[in-house]
Amino acid sequence: MPSGSDFSPSAEFLAQVTRAQRPLYGFISTLVWGHADVEDVLQETNLVLWRKAAEFDASRDFMPWALRIAQLQSMAHLQKHRRHPLLNSDLLDRIADEAIADRATADSRRQALASCLQKIPEKHRRLVAARYEPGASVNAMAAALGKQPKAVSETLRRVRRTLLECIERSLATEATG
């Protein structure tokens, strides 16, 4: 089997990596706090996936393998940056294990989010858009709106809860439908 720097991943493998980006990002977000850090870990994970392409057994499920690599990269990142030291490895492992076990539901939840976003009031959609645009922060939003950051965050909390409840309802309907 080819290995080392002269090995070129197959188109199928690259497609798997590409399709995995969104779930990997979501998974890493449960282990590493902060958008920029999640992006960094995702980048590192992609590099490792590329380098380990030759080791991947195509007969196996790609995602669990990729998620484990992301888990290791997350741990390495946290150790390197000494992030939230209280989030010990046992807890991280537990969160990772549970996230991997819940993988299929997580995908369904992401799909349900699209329709749930459509169901919330437009002003809340705008708020969500403002919060999640690059470089946005609650503090900047509060300054722009002339409100206290806490008030903006509280509104966001209600919107997030509404979205999560909507997602749960969608999944429950699917399950019974």
Partner: protein, 489 residues
């Protein structure tokens, strides 16, 4: 609810605070405790974090997306990506495309599910396009016209840009860029972006920033160092600089910002700046010639201080603990050898083929606005040794008032022409030599900063052996106005 399960609303409140970065350290500790103790808390945590991630994923890039209807012709054209085979360049291009190529939707009026479906379809199409018939991770090959908002005014080192659609991996002076992300590589690298109104943003060292100019100019410094010379901004639309730990509003001023994941240092050369600590929202006005720091720790009130006059002498012997901001492999003293820093590989730039140019060196940094004042008669001295004869490069990164970037200056010498250290009498000198370079012997590394200005300070000192690993070790660095060789102190 069982005793193990924390109150529902408390978990939600903490999770929401985590997403909005409003949690105190104590809150974080409380949350972690809840997660460790309760499966239900972990389940809720996972769902909240995944929702947050999904929204980030779908909205990231929205601000930098340029709808076709808004494209102005002829402003700038980014060259096609390299498609020179499946080597490291391909790997970088592919990885970069994965990271940045996701498209998103701008929420205005109706954010529709159809939009998200479009996103998914677009993504699939992108994958197909990128994989092509050959299976190669080829990138887009057609030039892209875009709304330029900054121009690369100066550059030394390797820099790349992406707007999430196109990637320009070898930036050059004169390139005009639309909103996006710029990544700068190299210990001594710098890059200046100039906005239409003349506001200049200079990145130094290994830095990464995103920039946009919609309602106001905004810069997100992921890590690294920025110097900003801002022209007066429109009323009510200050320029905003965000880092992982702080936010800065700029109306019109000269300032420097250094940030990593846990701390932001701000120095103000002219004007006044408001610095906000994101951990607790506390703000401080930082007046001219003052500095302030925002970190994740919220125990101390924020304060702006006027930095004292920097000393004219600096000595680093790597004793005790590793120098916090130095780069190199720290090695503790033993019976025969002093504490020292060994050169490590670092990316000094990139070749035309995109491959990294690796040098071996060590870097001394201290306070980011500078750690020693340089005078006409200053001398930089380095106690070092090499395993093999090598060309040694000394580079100093200069800082103007309150940390603004003031250029890199370099000197080179063959290692064997440096003076061997005297035999201490009680054993061999172990190959140590002293390299001494007067400040006036340093020459400018770039034409944008041609003159080494006396009175400016040194913010970075790099010692390297270029591309050969000569096992360079540095045991002492001294900058002083007199014979700089160390004296017993």
């Amino acid at each position: 609810m069982s005793a193990m399960n924390p109150p529902h609303d408390e978990v939600e409140e903490l999770l929401n605070g985590l997403l909005d970065k409003t949690l105190s350290t104590a809150d974080e500790t409380r949350l972690v405790g809840m997660l460790a103790a309760s499966a239900e808390a972990r389940d809720r945590y996972r769902k909240w974090m995944e929702l947050h991630a999904a929204l980030h994923w779908d909205y990231a890039g929205a601000a930098t997306h340029v709808p076709d209807s808004k494209v102005r012709d002829g402003l700038a054209v980014s060259p096609p990506l390299e498609t020179n085979g499946l080597g490291e360049a391909d790997q970088r291009a592919f990885i970069g495309s994965l990271r940045l190529a996701r498209r998103s939707l701008i929420v205005s009026g109706a954010l529709a599910a159809a939009g998200l479906l479009t996103l998914a379809i677009g993504w699939s199409a992108l994958v197909q396009l990128r994989l092509g018939d050959t299976g190669r991770a080829a990138s887009a090959t057609s030039p892209r016209v875009m709304d330029a908002i900054v121009e690369v005014a100066s550059l030394d080192g390797a820099a790349s840009w992406s707007d999430g659609h196109s990637v320009l991996s070898n930036l050059a002076v004169g390139h005009k860029l639309s909103a996006g992300m710029v990544s700068l590589e190299g210990e001594s690298a710098f890059l200046t972006l100039r906005f239409d109104d003349g506001t200049a943003v200079t990145m130094t060292g290994e830095s990464m920033l995103e920039f946009a100019a919609r309602w106001h100019k905004s810069v997100v410094l992921r890590h690294g160092t920025l110097s900003i010379d801002a022209r007066p901004q429109p009323a009510g639309r200050p320029m905003r600089i965000q880092t992982p730990t702080a936010e800065v509003e700029v109306v019109g001023t000269i300032l420097s910002v250094t940030a990593d994941s846990s701390e932001t240092q701000l120095g103000v050369g002219e004007g006044s700046v408001r610095l906000q600590r994101l951990a607790d929202g506390q703000t401080v006005e930082v007046p001219e010639h003052h500095v302030a720091t925002a970190s994740l720790a919220t125990g101390q009130p924020m304060a702006a201080t006027r930095p004292g006059q920097l000393p004219s002498r600096y000595r680093q012997t790597f004793d005790g603990t590793p120098c916090f901001r130095c780069r190199g492999k720290w090695m503790a003293a033993d019976d025969r050898l002093p504490s020292r820093a060994r050169a490590v590989p670092f990316v000094a730039g990139r070749g035309a083929d995109g491959k990294p140019i690796v040098h071996y060196g060590m870097t001394v940094r201290d306070q980011d606005h500078g750690f020693v004042t340089l005078h006409d008669d200053s001398v930089v001295a380095v106690r070092f040794r090499c395993a093999t004869l090598s060309r040694i490069q000394l580079m100093i990164g200069m800082r103007g008032p309150c940390g603004s970037f003031a250029g890199n200056f370099e000197a080179q010498i063959d290692s064997d022409s440096a003076a061997p250290e005297d035999d201490p009498g009680d054993g061999p000198s172990n190959g140590w030599r002293w390299l001494e370079v007067p400040a006036r012997k340093f020459i400018a590394s770039c034409k944008e900063f041609p003159v080494l200005t006396p009175g400016h300070s040194v913010g970075m000192l790099l010692v390297d052996t270029f591309s050969s690993d000569a096992a360079l070790e540095v045991a002492e660095v001294v900058v002083g106005r007199q014979a700089a060789k160390a004296v017993s102190e």
